[in-house]
């Protein structure tokens, strides 16, 4: 199945933001918006849901903490308890204060790295991934809105030009 989309190019973030609102009000579905930098308020204007990535980070942090506790308890208390410098390792509770630094470090380690990996996977970025921005200028100073064509093509192009688009292009999209 192939469907037609229009790529409308803008050269100002404020114009884009207004255009996004207008296009949505006129009930044209916005497929995607490509911007060279984070435009504040864009995700609200597009109606994107809040990202849950911070929640995953919290869970990963708890995993890291749990792993640290398990690891040190196993290695220092269970597997091979030793009397080091008159500080015997025979109970986790008594040794716990010395374990706090590594408990903290591993919490951060897990929370940070696994969150970033989640981000890369969710946004499909990573080594050897081919960039799919339709216009190379969108990483420089142009903003591109991809609108699905529903109904009259000509009318939509005119409407987009009215919202301030400097260029419009009709593209057949494979999907």
């Amino acid at each position: 199945m192939s469907n037609k989309v229009i790529h409308a190019l803008y050269d100002d973030d404020d114009v884009l933001l207004k255009a996004v609102k207008d296009v949505r009000e006129a009930n044209h579905p916005i497929e995607e918006v490509y911007t060279p930098f984070p435009v504040h308020g864009l995700e609200k204007a597009m109606g994107l849901k809040d990202t849950r990535i911070a929640i995953t980070s919290f869970i990963y942090g708890l995993m890291g903490l749990g792993f640290a506790v398990w690891m040190m308890n196993y290695m220092m208390i269970q597997d091979w308890p030793q009397n080091i410098g008159g500080k015997p390792s025979f109970s986790f509770a008594e040794n716990m204060p010395a374990f706090v630094p590594i408990m903290f470090e591993l919490t951060v380690f897990f929370a940070a790295h696994l969150m970033v990996i989640t981000f890369y996977m969710r946004s499909k970025i990573g080594p050897f991934v081919k960039a799919s921005n339709p216009d190379p200028r969108t990483t420089d100073d142009k903003f591109l809105m991809e609108v699905t064509v529903k109904g009259d093509e000509k009318e939509l192009v005119d409407f987009l030009s009215q919202t301030g688009a400097i260029e419009t292009k009709i593209v057949e999209k494979e999907s």
Partner: protein, 462 residues
Amino acid sequence: MSHYEAPIREPLILGDKSYHDISNDIAAPIEGKANKWWWTVFIIALIAFLWGIGAITYTIGTGIGVWGLNNKINWAWDITNFVWWIGIGHAGTLISAVLLLFRQKWRMGINRSAEAMTIFAVFQAGLFPIIHMGRVWNGYWTMPIPNQFGSLWTNFNSPLLWDVFAISTYLSVSVVFWYTGLLPDFAMIRDRATKPFQKKIYKLLSFGWTGRAKDWQRFEEVSLVLAGLATPLVLSVHTIVSFDFATSVIPGWHSTVYPPYFVAGAVFSGFAMVQTLLIIMRKVSNLEAYITRVHIENMNKVILVTGGIVMVAYMSEFFVGWYSGSSYEDFTYLSVGAATGPYWWAFWALIFCNGIFPQLLWIKKLRTSYTFSFIAALIINTGMWFERFDIIVINLSRGHLPSTWTQFEPTFVDIGIFMGTIGFFFVLFLLYARTFPAVAQAEVKSILKSSGDGFKRARDNK
């Protein structure tokens, strides 16, 4: 959308820049050719680096005996350099994380280079404990991995092991934070590159970044959470480094003030190093519009505050040592004994470079001068090296037993390794300056309308 910013705030981006101008300015050092200055400094740094590699090879081949260490002073330049470098490696994450949480926009002009500097400094720091092991090939013993000895695990009660975890977490999280921020900028260079090889490289480096709205939303959330994680992390790293000393029983080391005082000292020296590099870089890479007097002055203010904290710590250490009346406290690194003893020069170098000289930054004229800031940064860097030297060598040079009292004499190997790490650091930084976007251009673009000179003027004159 309102881009209002109070007129009293000085612009952070000078000149009438457009979004496209920013791309051009940031890409220019990468697309252009290196000039004579770059090559001169690079070759000097490379020679120093090679000298360092020679000294390291000699150390590993022969043993730690080639250093100037002796029975009493068993830690000296190696650990001094380690703490010095790791301290320098604190500014980058502080700038990118703490200033992000405080929503300081001036961070955006300098965070990329400051983070690069951090990462390169932590590399240098990491070298020293590894070389100091003597048998470097057994370095993996610091990792809690099952082994053929039983398994004999690492000792999680030891601050030295905490160091291993703290520094590797810090280094890896800093790299990831830095790299994620670099993706949109690599993508910008990828999309404008004309040479095929360059295009290929930046294609690979940019991880296929496209700038979709959802990606940006996640990107910003990830940056915020990473900043939140990195802030306590950066404080924990130098706290744990200070535990190496503070949990021991050597007079002068066994001190509860160490963790906060080390952290303040780290920020102090780190900002000084950022100043040193950026004052040169803004000229060489033509970034004067993005790294302005405002940035330099703000960094000087941070230096002034952290320098003040360090000075208060010195004074309290000195006072408490004297007030205790204990004779053992009279030879610690901050004491009358140190000020008048054989290491008087190291003591006074510390007081002058870290305590007295930075006070000149209270004067606005000096604080906003590039030349003076550069000189001040070099002096502070020297002072912070002496702080670690004093803590380690002066404290060890006098023990409970007077027959062990001795002095430390560095050998050419000690000096060679130190110079080598400085060379290595500059080699990395110079390569970075020619191949990486040195300013976080995507972030700078997002504040252009509020803090750009041209936009501000247009708005204020309306």
